[in-house]
Every structure is written in structure tokens, then in C-alpha cells.
Amino acid sequence: MNFAQALLCGIFYYLNAGPWCFGAGFMIFGKPLVLGFLVGLVMGDPVQGTIVGATIQLIYLGLMSTGGSYPADSALAGIVGTAAAISGGLTAAQAVAIAVPVGLAGTVLFQLRMLSAVPFTHMADKAAADGNTRAAFMANVVWPQIVLAAIYVIPCTIICMFGVDAISGLINAMAGTTFIRVLGVIGGMLSVVGIAMNMKAIFKGEAVPFFFIGFLLVAYLGLDMIAISCFALLFAMVYANVKGGGIDAAILAATDEEEDDE
């Protein structure tokens, strides 16, 4: 990967943490699905990049960053995983196995970012004490973003320039060994972690049977994800109708006065 390509990857990585994407950088530039496409575009193979990115995305599907926590750096994993796969001709599943340790290492940068902005919050205190709104702009936008760009662009650019080829070269040197075969098998298994992470949030109560309905629709009928999403939406509408306007509601209204019926 040449310097210009690596620098672009570094900028994508910064956009994941910075405010410029409508404040939703983490939701767009933090996703291997999107980064796979972008890195692929930069390296001249957007289609393969999209496929690899989507595969890496699966392990981070249920990733949630709340209250200042950051369990894994899906962005760095997506960038480095995709770049290694394209430059080394790896399969998507092998790229997943590479992405996992990278995603772990990236969390250090998030902690660095959270620490590095503390002085600016005190700069903002000073601005408030002076009643100076212009200084608040400097404290909240200008200085933190200069530092943030340095923290994110520089390491990612260096990794992309020097690390990616090393990783893919190493994997290729071992081509045909059991190690590489097993690496691919593990890549196929790891996507359960992303799914299970999301299930922790939604796999409960009335929604549980629908998980198995979705599974069976694909296992037996082979429907694709768009078809499944349409069915899922209709299931939810039918279920809400049945629950809200069905026999149960009538009985409830007749017998139970303290329910929150309007």
C-alpha cells in the first residue's frame, strides 16, 4: 500500500471518531461494512472490499459503545482486515481472524483520545468563567479535533503502510498449511459473537420465537436478508395488531381498570 492510500485509510479512521459525519461517525465510518467498501475503493477493488468488510462486520454486529465504554475498535479492524485481504489475496474468513486482534489493539487509541481531551474541558471552564463563547468553540471544536486527528490518522497510516503487507505476506507464506485452513474455519465461527452480543439486548420475552422463525425461513427456504427483513417487519406489524386490538385487549379493558389504557 502506498502513502496516499494509507493516508486515506488514516482519514477514514479519523472520521470514525471525529464529528464531521453529522456526529454519527461511529455509526457510519466505524462500521467495517462501510470501511470495507471505502478501503476497497482506495485499493482499486471495491467489490472484494465490500465482501470482506461485510464479513468482518458480522463479528461487530452487536457492538455497543455506551457511557464512554468502547469494547472493541471495529473501525481499525475493518480497515486493516480489508486492506490485508485485498493486498494479500486472503479469503474473507481469514481476514476476520486477522481483524480480531487489531480491533482489540485499537481500543488503546480510544482511551488515549478520552484522556487527551481532559485539558480542553478545563479550557472550556475558563471560557465559561470569562463568559467567552468564542473560547468555548476553540475548547470544544478546534483544539480537540487537531489532537484527535493526530491520534487517529498517524497510527492508522503507519499500520496501513508497513503492517498490512507484513501480515498478508506472513499469511501467504503459510498457504496450504492446516493453520491457514483452521484460520478460515474460525473466521466462519466468530460471527456468532456479534450476533450473540446483539441477542443479549433483544433476545427476550415475546421476541424469542421470531429468532427461530427467521432461522428456519433461511435454513429451509433459503430466503435472502432483504426478504427476511420484509417478513420481519410484517411479523412485527401483525403481532402488534393482534396484541393491541385482539381478544386479550378486550378482556383486559373489561376486567382491569388500573392498566394504563387511555
Partner: protein
């Protein structure tokens, strides 16, 4: 919004209100840090309002207003825009002379609402919207269709903007009572329930489509080759092993409290062991 006092409340121009909204939406996380999280972002979003309410030379008024918003703050950015709108409306009343609001109502609303809105907002955005949209896009992307990531980005940004804009106006125009009514109306719970059904259906489909696990164990019998995968598991149910692996993983992570990182390590180590043994 009730107005018992005689004072005339001057509302800021709609341009200023819009600026506060965009400043919040873009820069809430700009100075994200371990000490105050979004605290500085909140101060920054209030600056356009303070600029218009207090004259340039009213340093004392500006100082008091700004210092009301320097403390720790953290919520979900889109739904939390309601708190920014609400605080802007309260700053207008404080500037009009209802200074008693500054001591008790303002902090109690800010810190009373940020928790619930974070809980609801993170659930809607990160536990429901993100995985569902991602799953649909992954379906396209796995076939090499670059519209997967493109559509995901465009649709998600539109939804997030609409959410933020609606919340901000609910807070700014309708006030705290309307916001509480909205939160307690049960509408949000209905949305979360319906979205949970969509999410679960899609997760089940993902397991069957994209988790791969199969055994390569086979024996030579007198009647011919016996393949554990095709002769046993596939006969019981296609994709049985991915389903069992998913349920086991979910059980370990949800009921046994295994972290996602540790789970990945288990899978990598376990995968190497049984992979080298020639089982998978």
C-alpha cells in the same frame, strides 16, 4: 409552557435555535473525555442561545449562563437533543427574569432526563437500528453489491437526523411536560417491542446465512462412507451446528457473563484445538 410571572419571554430566533441543534448534533462528542464526557459539548451547544440572549458587554450574565452548563453530561446524542432544546427554552425564561429556574429546575431536568434518554436512545440506535440496517446491508454486500454500504449510510444518516430534529423540537417547543408525556405514553415501549421482533427475526436469519460450522468427520463402513455432517446433522436440520453454536455462545455471554472478548478467545483457541484434531 406555563408562564405565571408577568415577564415577557424573548425567544431566540429560529436561526439560533437551529444553530444550537446542529452544534449539538455534530460536536456533542467533539471533546469527549473521561472527566465530563459530553459536558463540554453541551456547553458549546448552548453558546448560540447565550450569545443571542445576553448583550456582548453583559459578561456577568454570559458567565452565569455558561457556568450552568460546564458540568458532567452524557446521553444518547439524537434523543438527547430534546434536553438541549429544553435547556435552550429554559435559558430564555431565565434571561427574562425567572432566575429561580436556574437553581433547581434546570439541573433536575438536565440530570433527570439524561439517564432515561440515554437508555432508550442507545437501545433504539445501537441495539435495534444499527444491527437491523447492518444485517440488510450485509445481505447485499456479501453478494458483492456495493449498494449495501452506500444505502446503509444514506438511510441511517437520514433516520438519525430525523430523530435528532424531532427530539430537539419536542424539547424546545413543547417543553418538559410534553417530553415526559411522550416518554410515559408507552409508545416507545411499543416501538422497542416491535423492533425487537424485527431484530430477532433478522438475527435468526443471519445465523443460518452467515455463521459457518460443519464437521469433516467421516468413517469407512462396510456399507460405504459415513459422513457425520451429511448423514446425520444435515438430515436432522440444515444449519444445525451454527444454530447450536449460536445458542451456546449466547448462553455463555448472557447467563454466564462471559465477555465478548473472552468469547472470541474461547472460539479461537477451541477452533484451533478441534480444527487440528480434524473434527471441523
Amino acid at each position: 409552557m406555563s408562564n405565571e410571572t408577568e415577564v415577557e419571554v424573548k425567544r431566540v430566533s429560529s436561526k439560533t435555535a437551529r444553530k444550537a441543534f446542529w452544534d449539538w448534533l455534530f460536536f456533542a462528542h467533539s471533546c469527549y473525555n473521561y472527566e465530563r464526557l459530553q459536558g463540554t459539548g453541551f456547553l458549546y451547544a448552548m453558546c448560540p442561545v447565550i450569545d443571542e440572549l445576553y448583550a456582548k458587554d453583559d459578561i456577568d450574565g454570559r458567565r452565569k449562563a455558561m457556568e450552568r452548563h460546564t458540568a458532567f453530561f452524557n446521553t444518547e446524542v439524537r434523543l438527547g437533543a430534546a434536553i438541549v432544546g429544553l435547556s435552550a427554552a429554559m435559558e430564555e425564561r431565565i434571561a427574562a427574569g425567572e432566575t429561580e429556574l436556574a437553581e433547581d429546575l434546570m439541573p433536575s431536568i438536565k440530570y433527570g432526563l439524561m439517564g432515561p434518554l440515554a437508555g432508550i436512545g442507545d437501545t433504539i440506535v445501537q441495539a435495534i437500528l444499527t444491527p437491523i440496517l447492518l444485517s440488510m446491508a450485509i445481505g447485499l454486500a456479501m453478494d458483492g453489491n456495493v449498494m449495501g454500504p452506500v444505502l446503509y449510510s444514506v438511510i441511517f444518516i437520514i433516520i438519525l437526523l430525523a430523530m435528532g430534529w424531532y427530539s430537539f423540537h419536542l424539547g424546545y417547543k413543547k417543553g418538559d411536560e410534553a417530553l415526559m408525556n411522550f416518554l410515559e405514553s408507552g409508545l416507545i415501549n411499543k416501538i422497542i417491542m416491535a423492533a425487537g421482533i424485527v431484530g430477532c427475526t433478522v438475527m435468526g436469519a443471519l445465523v443460518a446465512n452467515y455463521v459457518s460450522l460443519s464437521t469433516v468427520v467421516s468413517f469407512e463402513l462396510t456399507t460405504g462412507a459415513f459422513n457425520l455432517q451429511t448423514d446425520v446433522f444435515d438430515v436432522i436440520m440444515p444449519k444445525l451446528l451454527p444454530l447450536l453454536l449460536t445458542l451456546l455462545t449466547f448462553w455463555l455471554m448472557d447467563k454466564k457473563g462471559v465477555s465478548s472478548l473472552r468469547m472470541m478467545l474461547f472460539l479461537i483457541l477451541g477452533g484451533f484445538v478441534i480444527g487440528y484434531l480434524g473434527i471441523i
